[in-house]
């Protein structure tokens, strides 16, 4: 009689102890019923497929066990092993599947970026804003989307370079050369003085102070707006070519533009009439101011309010002032509509002095088509604006805006290391009627 191995006994005990609850037969007893009397072993039972390792005697025709319980246990054990074998296959497959899955993930996630070539229909020119590439040039003018001009004779257009919106080369037959560029600089009012002084330093001249700037400027028209022309030349060192620079600063739709001709002194002098004619022919597209932002300011519909509202002072805007989404460089904007026209209010802020009082007043004067003025002319016209315990300055200007007579009230408020600019610009009747409201609005911002 073979002895039942310890393993079989442990297996039997483990399996028989697993019961499925009240009234349920143990798995072991169910298996015992599958055992039938062993034909070749007078004490044992036999079942159909008992593994020899369970310690049963092996006789031809089957395996025998000492008793029915061991027989049942061995059936259960073999069933368990069968399940584990399935599981191990699943586990192995799981490993393989996981490995494959990881490879697949890597293949998907680490997709190699490749060069693509394709054909697309021509892009239709946008109705308002230029977001595509430069359109084709006509014989006399060119339109890079927002700037148009008439190309003077002998000027060769070059590709855009660095920050230049347009670039031209002039080459005389005797080899003298000059270059013309058009560069948008943004809306920082300090740029005019800064740029002029860069040109002056390059020519070996002393920089200008803000109050001297106006004296050195000539008024030239650029798309209906008066620009400031600065002519800079200096005696060169021995053996060097004398250079002359004609630099024009023009503000159009909240953007400062530079138009500059630099080159051989005599050639620049000869080309000055052509340069002035070129400036007269320049025209800016409607909506150009929005294109000149680094990326036109996006307003997310996730914002609870129009952007920057939360950072703005808590001013009291009159109820009839209609708030509108501010443009680039502008923190807030309102429209005022009256019986005799309309006006716009805009509020902006720049760090530091932002060019100072005279510079900014001249910027506004330029927007209205007025000639720049010096301190002697500007200071007497300043209106003192009390704001709390401090004072700010306001100007009242009359000129033209977009071809129509216009009036502007502009206030410059230095506060906390920054300079705030408040501007009311529009029809004279509306501006006159809103002057008190405008003043109170500014004062309410800093209470």
């Amino acid at each position: 009689m073979p002895k039942v191995s310890a393993m079989v006994l442990r297996t039997k005990q483990f399996l028989l102890n697993r019961s499925g609850g009240v009234g349920k037969r143990s798995p072991g007893s169910a298996c015992q019923e599958r055992c039938r009397p062993c034909e070749n072993f007078h004490k044992g039972y036999v079942y159909e497929s008992a593994p020899a390792s369970l310690g049963a005697s092996t006789f031809p025709g089957g395996h025998c066990f000492e008793n029915k319980a061991n027989c049942g246990a061995s059936i259960l054990y073999s069933m368990g092993m069968a399940i584990l074998r399935v599981n191990s296959v699943v586990q192995v497959n799981l490993k393989q599947i996981s490995a494959f899955g990881l490879l697949l993930l890597c293949a998907v996630g680490c997709q190699k970026e490749e060069i693509r070539a394709y054909r697309v229909p021509k892009e239709a020119p946008p109705s308002q804003m230029a977001s595509g590439p430069a359109s084709a040039a006509d014989p006399h003018g060119h339109s890079p989307g927002f700037l148009k001009w008439k190309l003077p004779e002998g000027w060769k257009e070059q590709g855009a370079e660095q920050m230049r919106a347009a670039s031209f080369k002039i080459e005389a037959a005797d080899g003298r050369m000059a270059q013309v560029v058009a560069i948008p600089l943004g809306d920082n009012p300090a740029m005019e003085l800064e740029s002029v002084n860069i040109w002056r330093r390059a020519a070996g001249l002393e920089p200008l102070s803000p109050d001297k700037l106006a004296e050195n400027a000539q008024i030239v028209p650029v798309d209906g707006v008066q620009g400031h022309l600065y002519e800079i030349a200096a005696e060169p060192a021995a053996g060097k070519v004398k250079l002359r620079t004609l630099g024009v600063m023009s503000v159009h739709a909240a953007t400062v533009w530079i138009f500059k001709m630099t080159g051989d002194d005599s050639l620049v002098t000869e080309q000055k009439p052509a340069f002035l004619a070129f400036l007269k022919s320049v025209s800016f597209h409607e909506g150009m101011d929005q294109q000149m932002a680094e990326m036109p300011a996006r307003v997310s519909t996730n914002n609870k309010r129009i952007p920057a509202q939360a950072d703005l002072p808590k001013w009291d805007a009159p109820a009839h002032w209609q708030a509108k989404a501010p443009g680039p460089m502008v923190l807030a904007s309102y429209t005022v509509t009256g019986d005799k026209g309309s006006a716009d209010v805009s509020i902006s802020k720049f760090p530091g002095e932002a060019g100072g009082l005279i510079q900014n007043v001249n910027r506004w004067r330029g927007q209205l088509g007025l000639a720049p003025a010096g301190p002697a002319e500007i200071n007497p016209g300043l209106i003192a604006l009390p704001i709390g315990d401090e004072k700010a300055n306001m100007v009242d200007l009359n000129g033209t805006w977009k071809g129509k007579p216009a009036r502007m009230l502009g206030a410059i408020v230095p506060r906390g290391g920054e300079t705030w600019f408040f501007k009311l610009l529009g029809d004279d009747a509306v501006v006159a009627a809103e002057k008190d409201n405008f003043t109170k609005f500014i004062q309410s911002a800093f209470k």
């Binding site: 599981n87 799981l94 490749e114 394709y118 697309v120 109705s127 590709g159 920050m163 860069i198």
Partner: protein, 370 residues
């Protein structure tokens, strides 16, 4: 065999599940705090779309991993869930509900992983009256060479940023010339200098991480042809694209957001932005668009507004923003093949919980009546 059993025990243990969930909780907390400084996009990439969260000690040039990232935790949780299920699988009516719940969780995890790998997000900015047939990536840029010679169509060769930034000379069968890359700046900024020839130059700038910012790339290139060298050109998102002519073809060089062209076009008829009266608090944003598809002849008007996107051709168009002065709309375009999985997964989880609850309730009720 022993190792396999140990691995199996490890991956099927409940302890691993609890540890992973605790680490995930910590990851979300750390990511939320880091977002203040780093911005949402950078935190998403560094904390959640990665295997490990890396940290650079102040002044050091090396990085050390400090926390398991979202991909690692998600994968381990998924393996843990599946392995435990396989090991302890017992098909019985009593556990049917739990089986359905776990199936829902597995589907949720897998679905989110597929979304991460396959989702494409882009934006379509359209001015009123304008028609567009492409959307642009909000973050990725490309270097494009465009042949405008054909009057009806443009031939575009799009070079990914990863390719152009890692090469000094690019030759491709798609172009009849080589492009020599002197430098590529993934982000750049204009800089005023004092040289007499140029007032403003474009210099390399650090990459931006804030959600509303984008990297303005710049490439300084030359084009090498058999007619000679064309350029050098500064191709920048700050400036107009340079153009040149070669063998009668007019080429444009552009650095621009990656474009995804569609087989249909969207025309913006009107954009409306309403505010509550007397305030600047937005009330409603709506874009009335015309969708036209030449190959199917489809041409219909659609209104896209808040919480009412357009689902079309496997993509979803959400009202995301608008241009200043209400002159145009910005639609967020999302292609997500796995968009249904969260809904199915949540349904499965809900159904599983219901089944499990009801089976216990019925059993309890039966015992009580007995």
């Amino acid at each position: 065999m022993k190792i396999l059993n140990q691995a199996l025990n490890f991956f099927t243990s409940l302890r691993l599940t609890v540890v992973c969930l605790a680490l995930a909780l910590g990851l979300v907390f750390l990511g939320t705090l880091a977002q203040v400084q780093m911005g949402l996009y950078a935190v998403q990439e560094g904390y959640f779309h990665s295997l490990l969260v890396w940290w650079t000690p102040k002044g050091a040039s090396f990085k050390i991993p400090i926390w398991p990232g979202g991909y690692l935790l998600g994968t381990v949780l998924l393996v843990n869930l599946i392995a435990a299920h396989v090991k302890r699988f017992e098909l019985s009516r009593k556990k049917l509900g739990i089986f359905i719940v776990h199936a829902g969780l597995i589907l949720l995890l897998l679905g989110q992983l597929l979304t991460e790998l396959l989702q494409v997000e882009s934006y379509m900015r359209i001015s009123e009256g304008q028609t567009k047939n492409y959307s642009e990536s909000g973050r990725k840029n490309e270097f494009a060479v465009i042949d405008h010679s054909n009057p009806k169509e443009d031939y575009v060769v799009s070079i990914p940023e990863k390719v152009i930034s890692r090469t000094s000379e690019l030759a491709t069968p798609a172009l009849p010339f080589k492009i020599k890359v002197a430098s590529y700046y993934p982000n750049s900024a204009p800089h005023t200098n004092t040289t007499p020839q140029r007032e403003v130059t474009i210099e390399k700038a650090p990459l931006v991480t804030a959600m509303d910012d984008r990297n303005m790339a710049t490439a300084n290139v030359e084009v090498q042809t058999d007619e000679g060298v064309k350029g050098p050109f500064t191709v920048s998102m700050w400036t107009q694209s340079p153009m040149f002519t070669y063998k009668g073809h007019e080429y444009e060089l552009a650095v621009r957001p990656v474009r995804y062209y569609k087989p249909f076009s969207i025309h913006l008829i009107d954009f409306k932005h309403e505010t509550y009266k007397g305030t600047v608090v937005p009330k409603n944003f709506a874009s009335r668009v015309q969708v036209a598809r030449p190959d199917t002849g489809e041409n219909r008007e659609v209104l896209i507004y808040m919480n009412n996107p357009l689902r079309y051709a496997g993509e979803t168009y959400y009202q995301a923003g608008f241009e200043p002065n209400d002159t145009g709309t910005i639609l967020q375009v999302v292609r997500n093949p796995g968009w249904l999985t969260p809904y199915v997964a949540c349904t499965l989880v809900g159904a599983g919980l219901l089944v499990q609850f009801l089976s216990h309730l019925v059993g309890f009720a039966k015992k009580r009546t007995a």
